[in-house]
């Protein structure tokens, strides 16, 4: 009896050992190649100890990240802390982040941008040759934007709306990536010193930070409702003027207007409502649009899922922006009308990245097409002397001009006119005039924009937002779209709008305007 049971037990244990052996075979043989290629693999880290890494140049050929091999150890030097988040670091101790991570195989030369050459190199077992990157980001604008933020925590993202090229993308507070990326023993204390500082300097607020957007979201709500035919630029809501003072009851909850600064409520259609940033108007619009259409348009603009800057396997990941509480990485349904009405003016469960908001502005500027974001202009052969600029031989160019349509050209134009009014017209000047590039010496160019003063919990100062683009007058082709976020910066017009105005003006000036 017992002997029979023991015999059966032996069979079960044999099976268990067989399963374990199968697991062993899986990791050691079947899945080994993909594990061996991962950047966190200590073998990969050991291999790069003495390996040269390609140089990263800005749009004008200035070297931003350079490598030297000293005493058998590869050391990376970064020229500019304003780029620390975008470039990331290439540390022998802590691995890679940012573009250093996204383009690791190219920079180390483990891969060639051309798959055919990659295969040939693999077959011939050639030594990897590092390759260089040229960015679309202009160091002059990047430094200018970083200086505007100064010591305060925040982010500036600037995009060329026509191509999706990142012109500037900076996050404060920043850190010096050089000591982390040198001798491994020194990297530990350097990293400790950085993480010990206040304000999470390692976090890239522009693409990893999620913030309540407040009123900048009204640009989205208006665009969606106009495109869906729910409203026209002339639509008004008869109850709205009264509700500006009395409040707008939604399912037993009363939605209240923010402080209009002494402006008398009136029957406002879309443009004046955007100028004074009427919560009541946009709550009506949101409710009329409905939750499903709201979510549908949100997805068209890129909300509700993780994004990336650059295409394919070498994209730089951007955290998903949500308009509702997320479920499994997607926007969940609206819980009730109160949430929908609040989301329509950028409160409730709306949480967005500065990159996403810059993309929203760029989409309006680009006549309704969401441009494909990219920060790397091209991959080049390694330049022997980084000081003399990048090599001439271009191996791969990033695609430009692609993108997907979110709203019609007509809708985009209507929103654009209202956004110009929101900065330049009489009412708009009271709220967002500080974002006008005219103020910073650029004549003849109008600015489109919208401020946001994102309320947070009791006792916390609101986040200050501005999104916009320039030049925005009829017939002009916008050259820059920006999103500016200042954490706890108070009103949008007070902090974010002037920074955005200066950044846009600087870009127009650098490109021969003004």
């Amino acid at each position: 009896m017992i002997a029979t049971n023991v015999r059966r037990l032996a069979l079960y244990l044999l099976l268990a050992f067989a399963v374990v052996s199968g697991g062993l075979g899986w990791w050691q043989v079947v899945d080994a190649a993909s594990l061996n290629a991962r950047a966190e693999n200590p073998q990969v880290i050991a291999a790069r100890r003495g390996a040269l890494r390609g140089t990263i140049f800005d749009a004008n050929g200035q070297a931003l990240a350079t490598s030297q091999v000293i005493e058998g150890i590869s050391r990376r030097t970064y020229a500019d802390a304003a780029f620390s988040h975008l470039l990331g670091y290439a540390s022998l101790r802590f691995g890679t982040t940012g573009l250093e991570r996204a383009y690791d195989d190219i920079l180390t030369g483990r891969a060639d941008p051309n798959p055919l050459r990659d295969l040939v190199n693999d077959i011939l077992d050639r030594q990897p040759e590092p390759k260089d990157l040229t960015l679309t980001v202009d160091r002059r604008l990047q430094d200018f934007a970083a200086a505007q933020l100064g010591d305060t925590a925040g982010a500036v993202v600037a995009i060329d709306p026509r191509t999706g090229a990142i012109l500037a993308m900076t996050s404060t507070p920043t850190f010096d990536a050089t000591p982390i990326s040198g001798v491994p023993d020194a990297a530990g204390p350097a990293m400790e010193a950085i993480t010990a500082r206040d304000g999470d300097p390692l976090v890239d607020r522009s693409r990893q930070g999620r913030y309540v957007p407040g009123s900048v979201m009204k640009v989205f709500t208006g665009a969606a409702a106009l495109d869906a035919g729910i409203i026209t630029p002339q639509t008004t809501y008869p109850d709205q003027p009264r509700q500006e003072t009395e409040g707008f009851p939604v399912s037993g909850f009363t939605i209240r207007e923010h402080d209009l600064g002494g402006i008398q409520p009136d029957l406002w259609p879309f443009s004046p409502a955007l100028q004074v940033s009427s919560n009541i108007f946009f709550a009506h619009v949101g409710l009329e649009l409905g939750g499903e259409a709201f979510l549908d348009y949100a997805r068209r603009f890129g909300f509700c899922e993780g994004q990336q800057i650059g295409s394919g396997a070498r994209g730089l990941p951007v955290s998903a922006s949500y308009v509702t509480a997320p479920i499994d990485g997607d926007c969940g349904p609206f819980v009730d009308d109160v949430e929908l009405a609040s989301a329509a003016f950028g409160q409730a469960q709306v949480n967005v990245t500065p990159v996403q908001m810059a993309l929203l502005a760029a989409t309006i500027a680009n006549d309704g097409v969401v441009p494909e974001l990219h920060a790397v202009r091209d991959v080049r052969a390694h330049a022997a002397d980084p000081a003399t600029g990048p090599a001439d031989q271009i191996l791969e160019r990033s695609s430009t001009g692609g993108g997907s349509r979110a709203i019609s050209v007509d809708t985009a134009r209507q929103v654009r006119v209202a956004m110009v009014d929101a900065v330049e017209a009489e009412l708009g000047q009271l709220f967002a005039g500080a974002g006008a590039v005219r103020l910073y010496g650029i004549g003849g160019a109008q600015t489109a924009g919208k401020t946001g003063t994102a309320q947070r919990s009791e006792g916390q100062a609101p986040h200050s937002w501005f999104i916009g683009f320039a030049p925005a007058q009829d017939g002009a082709e916008p050259a820059i779209a920006v999103a500016v976020l200042v954490e706890g910066g108070g009103s949008g017009s007070g902090r974010a709008a002037p920074i955005a105005g200066r950044v846009m003006a600087e870009w127009l000036r650098l490109n021969g305007g003004g």
Partner: protein, 445 residues
């Protein structure tokens, strides 16, 4: 006691390859480390060989007639472990033991010696199983006492309070609780087997265990599990549960007991997942270690990388990066072996364990009484399941737990307890040999 020799030629023959294997391992790792072709220090290797040959000699001298494969199997597995620890010694922390600064391999050899002595005392000294089976409740009380003492007066290492300071030595009583629990369950099941097998309740198509007869054992087992889970020792809890179910299955032949037990365990884990954050963390890391690759997922990911680097034939002894895994010498020594010896070497080590398991079960099948059979099953299941749990944990087949790979992982209590269990197996096997003699009318040797 009369001095009667029992020649054990098979054992000696199978111990002899170690004379090449272990020194060769030391030699190869030394060359790999230093990059020069020289022998390096073989003192530890020679000490290990001497220890195993001495153990063999004492078994012969004491007339031990137990299974002759156990010692060679254990010595080979332990030899692989010692080679690995000696290779890792410069890269992991040294330990303070008995006032001496010893590296992990030296300390391990010291514990091998202590364990071997304990094994010999049990194997040669325990000629009668009376003290084990008649005092089963005393053993159970001792086990619970040890656990409670640890829970009250123990100290924490790596987040689990499993250690007790005995003078200068830190001991893990949990390792020994396993043994007394196996003795108790074997005794209880042997005494009540008839009742447990025959009486049963039926609820619809499901046969339910006769609870009243199981109750004393379940109660005691419940107390042990409670303490172990409270100590945050999940691997130990899983192991004890596995041992319990295995012994229950062998005693009754009821697969339903095992199924119900497994369902209860899964339900228990689910509840623990919801209630205890440290359990939830373990399970989450298991499901996706790459979600937190620099912190909590770091160790398991580094383990997987080690397996992948090893590939089919391994990086070669002394040429991998095993010290890139935190706690490689305890939790992840199997990954280190797989990295440097490859799939082939890892299979070989698993085959050694499997052979050991089969040998242990053979001892159980040949045993002439139920208590001995269940004792042998319990011990074999303990070492076999322990191997499966830690290896499967390394391989991400189940959540990782911090239990040791028997005879291989660094750790004094584990080595001592494992050798004690070999001693018990040898003594069961020895009694069977004598009983067979008696059945055939041969004189008592």
């Amino acid at each position: 006691m009369r001095l009667t020799l029992a020649w054990r030629w098979a054992e000696l023959r199978m111990l002899l390859p170690l004379a090449i294997l272990v020194p060769l391992g030391f030699f190869v790792t030394h060359v790999a480390r230093e990059g020069v072709l020289e022998a390096g220090s073989l003192t530890l290797a020679m000490g290990y060989l001497a220890l195993m040959l001495a153990a063999h000699a004492i078994l012969v001298l004491s007339g031990q007639r137990g299974d002759q494969l156990l010692l060679p199997l254990v010595a080979t597995i332990g030899g692989v472990g010692l080679v690995m620890l000696n290779r890792l010694a410069p890269e992991v922390e040294t330990t303070q033991a008995f006032g001496l600064q010893l590296d992990v391999a030296q300390t391990q050899l010291l514990w091998f010696s202590v364990g071997t002595v304990a094994m010999l005392v049990v194997a040669a000294g325990l000629r009668d199983d009376g003290p084990l089976r008649h005092y089963k409740y005393t053993w159970a009380a001792l086990g619970i006492g040890m656990l409670v003492f640890t829970a009250l007066f123990g100290f924490e290492v790596n987040g689990a309070r499993l250690w007790v300071a005995l003078g200068p030595i830190a001991v893990q009583p949990g390792e020994f609780v396993k043994i007394v629990l196996v003795i108790f369950i074997a005794g209880y099941l042997a005494d009540n087997r008839a009742l447990l097998t025959e009486a049963s309740l039926r609820i619809g198509p499901i046969r339910v265990p006769p609870l009243p007869y199981l109750l004393p054992m379940l109660a005691l087992f419940g107390v042990v599990m409670l303490v172990v889970v409270r100590q945050n020792d999940l691997g130990q809890a899983l192991l004890l549960f596995g041992i319990f179910l295995t012994m229950l299955f062998v005693a009754t032949g009821r697969r339903s007991y095992v199924l119900i037990g497994l369902l209860l365990f899964v339900a228990g884990v689910f509840v623990a997942y919801r209630l205890f954050p440290h359990v939830a963390v373990r399970v989450d890391i298991w499901i996706d270690p790459f979600a937190d690759p620099t912190d909590r997922g770091f160790q398991p990911i580094r383990g997987l990388f080690a397996f992948a680097r090893g590939g089919l034939f391994g990086e070669g002894l002394g040429q991998g990066l095993p010290s890139s895994i935190p706690l490689v010498h305890t939790d992840f020594i199997f990954a280190a072996i797989a990295e440097e010896l490859g799939l082939i070497g890892a299979f070989a080590v698993l085959a050694l364990f499997l052979t050991f398991v089969f040998r242990g079960l053979r001892i159980a099948m040949l045993a002439r009484d139920e208590f001995s059979a269940l004792l042998a099953v319990g011990i074999t299941a303990s070492l076999g399941l322990q191997t499966l749990i830690i290896v499967a944990g390394n391989l991400k087949l189940i959540p990782l737990t911090g239990i040791t790979l028997p005879f291989v992982s660094y750790g004094g209590s584990s080595i001592l307890a494992s050798f004690l269990m070999i001693g018990l197996l040898l003594s069961v096997s020895h009694r069977t040999a004598r009983a067979i003699d008696r059945e055939q009318g041969l004189p008592d040797r």
